[in-house]
């Protein structure tokens, strides 16, 4: 199953830094991830779209440059979800 890695404050909401998630697309995997976890859902989703500044990458590639939330995922893919973060 694809691995979803969570970073920053998302780990606190999820209670874990890495979770196996089911789904053929990024959207499906994130929906699976947030099932039963309203705090995590609120941190990642705004309606049917990603919350502003949340970044999702598949194998290091931002999904915005692929097919967005409809980006297909393979069983051995690594999905990384970042909350709003900043630095320099």
């Amino acid at each position: 199953m694809p691995q979803v890695k969570l970073f920053g404050i998302l780990r606190r909401y999820a209670g874990a830094s890495q979770i196996e998630a089911n789904g053929a697309t990024v959207r499906a995997a994130l929906e699976f991830l947030c099932t039963g976890n309203p705090a995590l859902r609120a941190a990642i989703w705004e309606g049917n779209a990603l919350r502003r500044y949340v970044r999702v990458m598949v194998n290091g590639r931002d999904i915005e440059l692929v097919q967005g939330l409809d980006t297909p995922i393979a069983p051995d893919d690594e999905i990384a979800v970042f909350p709003p973060i900043a630095g320099g």
């Binding site: 920053g8 502003r52 970042f82 909350p83 973060i85 900043a86």
Partner: protein, 600 residues
């Protein structure tokens, strides 16, 4: 309160050779054109320090400059800068710092302090309402930064100490000037310039306050800015919660984290040295500079030390770049850099260069990638210029050249590159290569555009079209450095708010475009300064490793920096000729007509 708006209208000039101190009015035409901080510093440096001047000679100067917003209470208006000719690079240099010293210096009634000459014996300056004194610093010479700061009576809101540590005294080209204990004017070796003058410290106490011409508009801008900073998750949550070190995992995830002297672009130990790890295991609290609601500073603690930091760049330089995944060792190395007064980016990256030279059998040392146990002592040895530290003290390029391998210095114009691999972020490579002070990410970081989607995402591997973004970011960074405020404010607040705050404070109408034009003016003048110093197109480059060696693995596998086409596009978009020289037309457009002849 000062009746002018923003500026105090005075320059303090201290000649350490003659012992004379004097004041003169600030040229207000110059101030309007260049604002303060970096801009004013570059303009004044042009007049003061020409190509014949050695950076460590008495003829070099230190120009400490506030900006028109410094000390007004506008959010993050605590910053100040120092300008000089860099001993590390030979270029124009400015470095800026936060904390409290800048605010206090403005309260002495001055915008600028110029220090020139060289004292016969170590001295420290004291600038108080009663006057300026030059005092014996022989008993302080040799003391580390914390002891110096304490001895001279540091009190954050009343009496502020700026000093050099052993590294500056021994003229390390990576020496920083430290203020308020653990803040730093770090890059490019300004600490060595200060040490070369036998100047140990500058202590400030003041009572005056900058004037604000339109109090109602200014109060409104304070209110608006506060609202925006609170509303932005970047400034109200991300930075206070995790600090800058939270960048470790995201930069590593995209395969742009330079590792083992840029041999790779992804580090298997990144998680262990991340912001998440710091928060879980070593964080004491967060902290803030004067008038800052963001509070990005970490205060961290190990079994041996407690203090501010580490920032992301520091954790990277002593971490991934050295192949070290021991966060406690990194925190302790950061602490030692603060005590010695050393730039953490250059120091960490120079150690990494030494590690590679040692692994190749060129440098006789037990240094190896991953040797976390050697970091603290190596930093201390660099600070005191002893044993092998003496060879590392002047940066990676001088070290690598000594062993016949200048290509192993990960630097541009002699300044060690920061924590983003240009092979994984093409625009960042252009930024480094065209930075006027050498390889630096603070001249307009492309991290936002190429990784974080701030304000939008551009493909980090895209080459065509990147130059216009780099130029805009460079110009905005230059004006922020001239105001002088913190760039993190810009993560929640658009530039137009700075322009409106500046207009309210000074009473001079600065439309946003005009304010950004100040940044463009500063950038072009800095370019001219470097051209006068003998820098040329050939110096707008990156290490051979980044141009020729593809990333071996990870998401950036196979990529090199495609600098050449970006550079051509950049020069054209800047309004420069094919050799990177500002054209007469561009200079006239920026009000730099007097420099047209110099440009030829």
């Amino acid at each position: 309160m000062n009746q002018m708006g923003g500026w105090m209208g005075k320059i303090l000039d201290v000649n350490l050779t003659t012992g004379e101190t004097s004041e003169r009015p600030l040229d207000m035409d110059m101030a309007r054109q260049f604002l303060g901080g970096r801009g004013l510093g570059a303009r004044m440096l042009w007049d003061e320090v020409g190509p014949e001047v050695d950076p460590l000679s008495p003829e070099n100067v230190l120009i400490f400059a506030c900006g028109p917003l410094t000390g007004t209470g506008y959010q993050t208006s605590n910053r100040f800068s120092v300008s000089t000719k860099s001993p590390l690079t030979g270029t124009v240099l400015d470095a800026n710092s936060g904390g409290f010293w800048g605010m206090q210096f403005k309260k002495t009634g001055h915008d600028v302090l110029i220090v020139r000459g060289k004292a016969e014996q170590p001295v420290y300056l004291e600038i108080k309402p009663e006057g300026v004194t030059i005092n014996d610093a022989v008993p302080l010479w040799g003391k580390v930064v914390s002891e110096t700061t304490r001895t001279l009576g540091q009190n954050n809101n009343k009496r502020n100490v700026l000093c050099v540590g052993p590294a500056g005294e021994r003229l390390s080209h990576m020496a920083a000037i430290m203020n308020d204990g653990e803040r730093s004017l770090a890059r490019g070796g300004p600490g060595a310039v200060m040490g070369s003058k036998n100047l140990k410290a500058i202590v400030v106490e003041g009572k005056e306050r900058p004037g604000i011409v339109d109090q109602d508009k200014f109060k409104f801008m304070l209110y608006e800015t506060r609202k925006l900073l609170r509303a932005s998750p970047l400034t109200s949550q991300a930075l206070p919660e995790f600090g800058t070190i939270v960048m470790m995992n995201v930069v590593n995830n995209v395969g742009a984290l330079p590792t083992r002297n840029h041999r790779q672009a992804q580090f298997e130990g990144a998680e262990a040295i991340s912001g998440e790890a710091l928060t879980e295991k070593y964080l004491v609290k967060n902290s803030a500079c004067w008038a800052c609601p963001i509070g990005c500073t970490r205060v961290s603690k190990t079994d041996k030390v407690e203090g501010e930091g580490p920032e992301f760049e520091t954790a990277w330089a002593f971490g991934a770049q050295c192949g070290v995944d021991d966060l406690a060792a990194i925190i302790e190395a950061n602490h030692m850099c603060n005590e010695m007064g050393l730039d953490t980016i250059s120091t960490g990256s120079t150690i990494a260069c030494a590690m590679e030279l040692a692994e190749m059998g060129l440098l006789d040392s037990e240094l190896r990638f991953g040797r976390a146990d050697l970091l603290v002592k190596m930093v201390e040895d660099i600070g005191y210029r002893r044993d092998i530290g003496a060879e590392l003290a002047d940066g990676s390029l001088r070290l690598a050249k000594r062993y016949g391998r200048p290509d192993l210095s990960m630097s541009s114009k002699g300044m060690e590159l920061p924590a983003y691999d240009p092979r994984g972020m093409q625009g960042q490579g252009l930024l480094y290569a065209t930075s006027n002070r050498g390889g630096c990410h603070m001249r307009g970081n492309m991290l936002g555009l190429e990784v974080l989607g701030l304000p939008k995402l551009i493909d980090r591997f895209q080459v065509q079209g990147k130059s216009s973004y780099v130029i805009l970011h460079q110009n905005i960074a230059a004006v922020i450095d001239s105001l002088v405020i913190c760039k993190f404010t810009n993560m929640g607040v658009a530039e137009e708010y700075f322009a409106r705050a500046l207009s309210a404070v000074t009473g001079i109408h600065y439309p946003t475009g005009e304010m950004i034009r100040v940044g463009e003016r500063v950038y072009n003048l800095e370019r001219l300064y470097n051209l006068r110093e003998g820098f040329a197109k050939a110096d707008d480059t990156l290490p051979p490793r980044l141009l020729n060696e593809p990333v071996p693995d990870g998401p950036s596998k196979g990529w090199v920096s495609k600098l050449e086409p970006m550079l051509k596009e950049y020069y054209r978009a800047r309004g420069w000729d094919e050799n990177g020289v500002p054209t007469p037309h561009k200079l006239a457009e920026l009000g730099l007509d007097k420099w047209v002849e110099a440009a030829q």
